[in-house]
């Protein structure tokens, strides 16, 4: 049976409700509405036309970009999670309480700097004449193309997500019951195997949500694909800017945006359902 919310909780929920209505639900409805509008002589006109939807969804270019963005975001989520986990594990299990607090502080520092600035500084490292290739050149290797390709894009996305993912993973690992780890050892489970068969399943909710955040941030990211990936072939966010620039096609851009929101909602729902799934019938 659903509990009826009290007046008090309703009042407390009001600001959030108003905010969500004004800045999420209303714009979303507006976005959906304009996806049916038409553009004549660079002017948008209210309409009920399916032409935009038909045009976008039947074009191979869109689906190529969609698939590319999915693969990039998924790779970024997996890659970031994998790189973050050993660090999170070490912070949570190997550091003293004092050192732990310092590490969490240090992990917050990257957020002081604009993401755009951090991405630009990666260019210095990744260009053919950049720091990494220069260093490799000294030992007779390279230069390897690292900029304006998928590698560059992924470096940027990992940069974007890594601190947040480490923080989320660390917090979830902090809540892993230490008795479970000792119990696993006691039942003949060695160290490495315990990480895989006890620590990871115990922290599943936090690990999945950390990866989900990495996916969401990377899926909608515009900066890395443009400045480190070269922007061509486009991801969905680059495609949106391209469409709006060419002939004020806001309605078509709205279609792409709605597709992105729908995808994120589906992925988030699936991930959270999976994360909280309990064992046992």
């Amino acid at each position: 049976m659903m509990k009826r919310p009290s007046l008090f909780s309703l009042v407390l929920a009001m600001p959030l409700l108003v905010w969500q209505l004004a800045f999420f639900l209303f714009p979303l409805l507006f976005l959906i509405a304009i996806s049916f509008w038409t553009v004549k002589m660079f002017q948008m006109q209210p309409d009920l036309s399916f032409a935009n939807w038909q045009r976008i969804l039947t074009r191979g270019v869109f689906w190529d970009a969609y698939l590319r963005t999915m693969i990039l975001a998924t790779s970024a989520a997996v890659l970031t999670s994998a790189i973050a986990f050993p660090a999170s594990y070490a912070i949570s299990f190997k550091l003293s309480e004092r050192a732990k607090r310092w590490m969490i502080f240090v992990l917050i520092i990257p957020f002081f700097t604009s993401y755009l600035v951090r991405v630009y500084s990666w260019q210095v490292f990744l260009t053919d004449a950049g720091i990494i290739n220069a260093a490799l050149g000294h030992i007779g290797l390279g230069p390897y193309p690292m900029l304006n390709n998928t590698f560059g894009t992924l470096v940027g996305m990992v940069t974007l997500c890594l601190p947040l993912v480490i923080l989320l993973q660390t917090f979830s690992l902090n809540f892993v019951n230490r008795d479970l780890i000792e119990a696993a050892h006691n039942l003949r489970c060695g160290r490495l195997r315990t990480v895989a068969s006890v620590v990871v399943p115990s922290a599943k909710v936090g690990l999945v949500i950390a990866a989900l955040f990495a996916f969401i941030l990377s899926f909608g990211d515009f900066v890395s694909p443009l400045y480190l990936g070269g922007g061509n072939p486009p991801t969905l966010s680059i495609m949106i800017t391209d469409i709006t620039k060419s002939g004020q096609q806001w309605p078509r851009a709205a279609v792409v945006a709605i597709m992105m929101i729908a995808t994120l909602m589906t992925v988030a729902f699936a991930a959270i359902t999976y994360a909280y799934k309990e064992r046992g019938k």
Partner: protein, 368 residues
Amino acid sequence: MDASTTPPAIVKFDNVVKKFGDFVAVEKADFEIGQGEFMAIMGSSGCGKTTTLRMLAGLEDPTSGDIYLDGERVNGRATWDRDTPMVWQSLALFPFLTVQENVEFSLKMRGVGKAERAKRARKWLEKMQITEFADRGINQLSGGQRQRVALARALVTEPKILLLDEPLSALDAHLKVRMQAVLSNLQKDLGITFVYVTHSMSEAFAMADRVVIMSRGRIEQIGTPEEIYRAPYNRFVAEFLGSANIFDGVVGAATPGGHMVAYDGGEVDLPASELLDAKTGDKVTFMVGAENVDLAPTDAGQDGLAATVVGEEFLGATATVFLETDDGQELKVQKSHAELKAVKCHAGARLIAHWAPSACHVLPGEKG
């Protein structure tokens, strides 16, 4: 169980010391546990009982001294290389696995095949009467059912020894008594060694063949529940039992069978066997069990200690009466309700507390 029938030792602590920095958690643990014995390690929190158990499990390493398991020195051997499954106070069941997967866990770690694993797990689920919950998650079980899962998980490899760290402390009183019976029968049934850590005297005395009493890292006494109850070694153990009246005295003149001992409440003639070679002038401490103290009205002409009733505690058929002597010493007397009524016992009443010399037990650990 006396010394001549003690079974061969499966566990031996040889001068084991455990320090955490400057803190001495266990100070010279030196004892053996026999094959098939139910051994309880008892003490209040921080006494070192859990650390002792964890050293046996291989979860802590002793700072010095040796631990032998089944005749083999196991210092420095990791817990996954010992056959010492443990039941945790929190039970430490894996919530991301089903009941059956929990029970199969250690078999899986040993590389036992899937069919064999299921067969052996089923056997233990049946034994612990939790077969119907095999496919449930841990969070869907009650406290008592979880307890059984934890036991099945630890016992599925058929070890020679099982370690238990206060496994019943989270259960309510009624369930606790039932689980005590389950554990006790299980241990007799399997014939393996149980090492059971607890802070509860009733749990230890109800189940264990022998009990180790610890305080502040030291072992105060080892013995059967009866030995400990009848003849506590020192003041700590006597006080821990909760029902002892303790008196300090001085050995006086010799009597035909022993010596007179003078104490705050008067004099008592104690036999030589109790006094353990004490000579005139030695200090001794003796105790009288609360159930061995009698009460009489002040006008009955009975010799004894005059005292005032300050409180009463009911324990079912009997009650414990607390009295205070004129010197401020507290006395505990355990009597049936009828006996208390007969002497008109009520708060504020003055009564004479007395006991037979044979009720006095000298604490050997307090001599000198």
